[in-house]
Structure formats: C-alpha cells, structure tokens
Symmetry: C2
Subunit: 197 residues, 2 copies
C-alpha cells in the first residue's frame, strides 16, 4: 500500500492553485499518493471572526499576495489571470469534487477548476464552467445534479469539521501522518515527510 | 557600488530569527549587501485591528507556527527553545539596533538578540541580556543608554512609518528595488531579485 498525502484545498484559494498544478507530479516522483480533500475556508475564517478573505480584510496583505502570485506563476510558467471577483463562490465546485469518487477524476476536475479560475479568470460558480471542467476530467456533466444533493451537502459539512479537527486554518494544507503543513511553500517538505512514513 | 537588500525585521518575530541566521551568508554568495532594518510590528498589527500577535489571536495558527519552527530549526541544525512569553517586548532591542551605526555591528547585535531569544529562550527586554548582545557584537554596553534617547525613539517611529509606506504587513520582509518579499520562505527569491538589479 502506498503512502497517502492529504491535500486540503479551497477552490477560491490562490495558493492552492499553485499546489494543484504540481502536487501530482512531485508526489509521484517520491512514490506518494495524493488524496484530494476539498473543503471550505469560509466557516473556518468565520470562526476566527473574519467575514471575508484576509486578503480583502487586510489590503496590504492582499496587494502583496497578488504580486506574489504574478511572480510565482511567471517563474513557473503557469498561466495567471486575476479573476474579477475574489474570493469566488467555491461552494458548488467543492460539492462536485466531493461527489466524484474516482480519485483520478477528482484530481483532474479540481485541477481544471483551478485553471479555469486563475489561469483564465473564469467564474467557477457558473454551471457552464463547472460542466466543462467535469467533461474535461472524464466525469459526466450529469454530475452537476450532485451540487444540490443533500448527501453531498452533508459530506462537505463533515469535511469542514474534519479540517478543523486537523488544526487546519488556511489553504492549501497538507497532512501526512501526524504532521500538518500549511502553504504551497511547504509542499516539498510535506511530500518528503510522507515519503518517510 | 554593490546592491542592497533591505531586511525588515521585528525582534519578536519567530520567522525573522530563521532569516537572521542565514541572510548574510546567502546574500554574500550572490554579491548582495544586506541592510538590517529593525522595526516594530505592533503598530502595524494595531492598524489592522490586532492587539496581539496573530499567533496568539488565532490559536490554530499559533500551534502550527511553533511546530513549523521546531521542524525548520531541526532541519537547519539551529538551536531552538521556545521562550516563556510570546511575543516578547522588542522595543529596547529595536532601539538599540537602530542606534548602532556600523552595519556589521548592527547585524551582529541583531543576530545575537535573535539567538538569545529563540536559541536560548532568554528575555530580550532585560538590560543584562541586551548588554551581553552589545558586547558580543563589538559594540559597547554603554550603548544601552540609547534605548531611551529621544532621537532614537523618534527614528524608530520613522522606521514604522517607512515600513507602512513600503507596504510591509509582517516580518521578515525584504525589499529589493521596487519589489517586496514577505517571509523567510521568500529570502532566496529576494536575494536573487536583488542580484539582478
């Protein structure tokens, strides 16, 4: 059985885009399997007293983040187009990702959603965008129905509870064994740790 | 004339300790000079509505930071002992660092203060600790008087204003040309950018 690295992400998170574009390749090089775990930061931020992204609440931090993303995507040769609205509503995308049981399809769908949003500035709350992401990942666009499935809604609530229980306070986060790693900057460390388990 | 990289730090900042221990060596390898710029995060956090370190205000973030520091210092072979109080009062240390005009002495004093606090859990608001740091850096312990010098107090206020004007919202921060970099994780990028100027 191969080692699992849990990748916790919110689709609205800019730095999660950076990890989504490289985690499978980096993990595979070390013989580590990635377990894509969509969740919502909103309830976690709300518990901290924030009713918005910290990048909007704290303007200096926000200005810095956008410039940092420009530099990092340029250095990595990644497409980057700042979406008109931030943070986008990531609820439907998160539910759909959870509804997809096949790991490879979930990873492909999630990567497509991140690329649509931050690579092409598309609105990931639009059903048409999500339908395209489903199809490009090999899932069926009929999956869209699951976005309102009570079972899936409940599963997403449970994801947020699990994230809180793991001590997660931001995204992306990575869990390997008993260790939590936060931020795209720790992806390499997280994979190295997972590879030792 | 060699290129300057401004290193903005608050003595109470854990991640600034990480940068303080390696910035001179890393920068020197690339022909970059380091300009040590002490400031205080307190007034900047206060302007954001925080009356304490975010690592205390947001407990999950704080628990993570201490574990992250343990891992990083272990990986880099750095001494690390968590101080009893956090954040420590860094006011006197910041004033003294500013009062030291000789760049090499300011760097040595600052490094000694960080090591005393995070390497040996000593209290950097104690005059005895600061006196030892002054002496080990080649400055005189008579410099201690400058901690209450009105000219130095005023210079520290100006440092905080400059930090705000530069868009600084946390520490460590690095400024090279028109680019701001935040966090020990960006030290390498900051030096690489400085080296191109």
């Amino acid at each position: 059985m191969s080692v699992k690295l849990e990748f916790w992400f919110d689709f609205a998170s800019t730095y999660s885009y950076l990890s989504a574009t490289r985690i499978e390749r980096m993990a595979s090089d070390r013989g580590v399997d990635v377990d894509w775990q969509p969740f919502l930061l909103g309830p976690i931020f709300a518990a901290q007293g924030w009713n918005n992204s910290p990048f909007n609440l704290y303007p200096a931090k926000g200005r810095y983040m956008w410039r940092d993303m420009e530099r990092l995507t340029a250095a990595r040769g990644l497409p980057f187009e700042r979406p008109k609205n931030f943070p986008q509503n990531s609820l439907q995308a998160a539910r759909l990702a959870l509804a997809i049981d096949v790991p490879e399809q979930r990873a492909a769908f999630s990567g497509a959603v991140f690329s649509a949003q931050f690579g092409s500035a598309r609105d990931i709350s639009e059903p048409q965008v999500l339908a395209e992401c489903l199809e490009s990942s090999g899932a069926s666009r009929e999956m869209l129905e699951h976005a309102t499935d009570p079972r899936i809604k409940s599963a997403l609530f449970q994801q947020v509870d699990r994230a809180k229980a793991l001590g997660i306070f931001g995204a992306p986060s990575f869990v390997a064994g008993d260790e939590l790693f936060w931020g795209d900057d720790r992806l390499g460390d997280a994979i190295s740790h997972a590879a030792t388990l």
